[in-house]
Symmetry: C2
Subunit: 267 residues, 2 copies
């Protein structure tokens, strides 16, 4: 068996997210089906992590163990010939046998894009959240930096992710250190790029909906309903209800996944 | 009645083109249906010209006569609230009663985009023609300028447009001047823009498929199968079979429509 490392870009609009599920329609399943057509192998394509329905990827990383002796470059071409145009293999390479796309990842960058013009160009509507209403963008940019650091991000985990939230609350009540909701945010920057307001977050890892909830909280700051100074208290509460709305999936992009010897940026 | 002038952008991917046809699914019909919802009026939305299925518009212009007393800006907002995100009204204004989007147009600019990278980004596949094969781009750029001038473009009209082609051929055989296939191209420039090869053509007007056929001919030049020097003879033949393949609709963009006092660019 050889271990293929794939770098993938996809338009998540028409898919039910990365992770395989009954009924199909996921990106992981589309790639596995294409591999089966090519080499006849039924293999699991391990991504660096899930992306939700509607979320896009500029460079998701995955690995897959295959018996095929096909050169990696040929596998890339064969996959791109069979996959829909919304999913592209940007690169394929033979990785060390022990390489694991999820377990070995030491960081990721996500981007959230808001389109600020009165009318959203029809060519962008799948890729941005159209938000033409007034926002205090300077306050949002200042607040974004408050997320940098090592925190328990339970308050910004998916509301539906009850198991993780309950476990964290129980441990906190018992005076134990948090278990698995602790992540380190290395960089969190919000900036204007022409008609778009763009949030970029680089961290050691992300809970489900974490970037969309950071984006949602920043919108609350922009509307004057919350303040950047509230962020430490909101995080300390470890309570999803302390945060704000979840920004829509269409504005979210997985930009990069990092592996050793990558070193996180230091602010 | 007031005459509303609309400036429209659309992603043509999911539509059967501009022009109304039985069975619907056209952009003209979607806009007319939205107007009917808003003001109860059954009106014809006159575009500056047709765009084919899959062709995009950055700024199509249309006019529509309506009895509504709604301010133009409100009509714009009401339309954008009802239209799918793939069709946007960029501007609405009250025009002089005699303004006619098609009859008054004195020029248009179209763009054709080829993506030249080995892999086409999934976010662009609706908007470009992916052409990763070798091309002599310098020869194509030189050939593009050969289309500038006042010509009978019968050789570059849609192959299916037999009535126009037959009429032109009959007049030519009888020694009469060409009737309606004569158009003036003011500017025709092909240039690299990062990973894209971009053709821009500004002319007095365009026959059906004319820009896609210019693009198709230039690809033949890029492949070394035709030469720029062949263009005058190909045009003089007034025979569609003398040209080349028609480039796909997805790469074509209507960029602008011009009205007096616009002056054409002079090379």
């Amino acid at each position: 068996m050889r271990n293929f490392r794939l770098t993938l870009a996809y338009d998540g609009s028409g898919y039910r997210g990365w992770q395989a599920q009954p009924g199909g329609g996921t990106i992981q399943q589309r790639i596995a089906a294409a591999i089966q057509e090519i080499s006849g192998e039924s293999a699991i394509v391990h991504g660096s992590g899930r992306t939700d329905a509607g979320v896009h990827a500029l460079a998701q990383v995955a690995h897959v163990q295959l018996a095929t002796e096909m050169p990696a470059e040929n596998l890339q071409k064969a996959l791109n010939a069979r996959l829909p145009a919304e999913i592209r293999v940007l690169a394929a390479a033979i990785a060390p046998p022990e390489f694991h796309a999820r377990q070995d990842a030491v960081g990721k960058t996500y981007r959230f894009r808001w389109h600020r013009a009165a009318v959203c160009p029809p060519f962008l509507h799948r890729y941005v959240h159209h938000y033409p209403y007034p926002l205090d963008e300077a306050a949002m940019a200042a607040a974004a930096s408050q997320f940098v650091g090592r925190h328990d991000f339970t308050s910004l985990a998916a509301a539906g992710d009850r198991r993780a939230a309950a476990a964290a609350a129980a441990r906190a009540a018992a005076g134990q250190p948090p278990l698995d909701a602790t992540r380190e945010v290395f960089r969190c920057v919000l900036a204007r790029q022409d008609e778009e307001l763009v949030l970029e977050v680089t961290g050691s890892g992300f809970l489900r909906h974490m970037v969309r909830n950071i984006a949602g909280f920043l919108i609350e700051v922009g509307r004057g309903r919350r303040r950047g100074e509230d962020i430490p208290r909101m995080l300390a509460a470890r309570d999803r209800r302390q945060a704000g709305p979840t920004a829509p999936a269409r504005g979210l992009w997985l930009v990069a996944v990092y592996y050793p010897p990558w070193q996180p940026p230091r602010p």
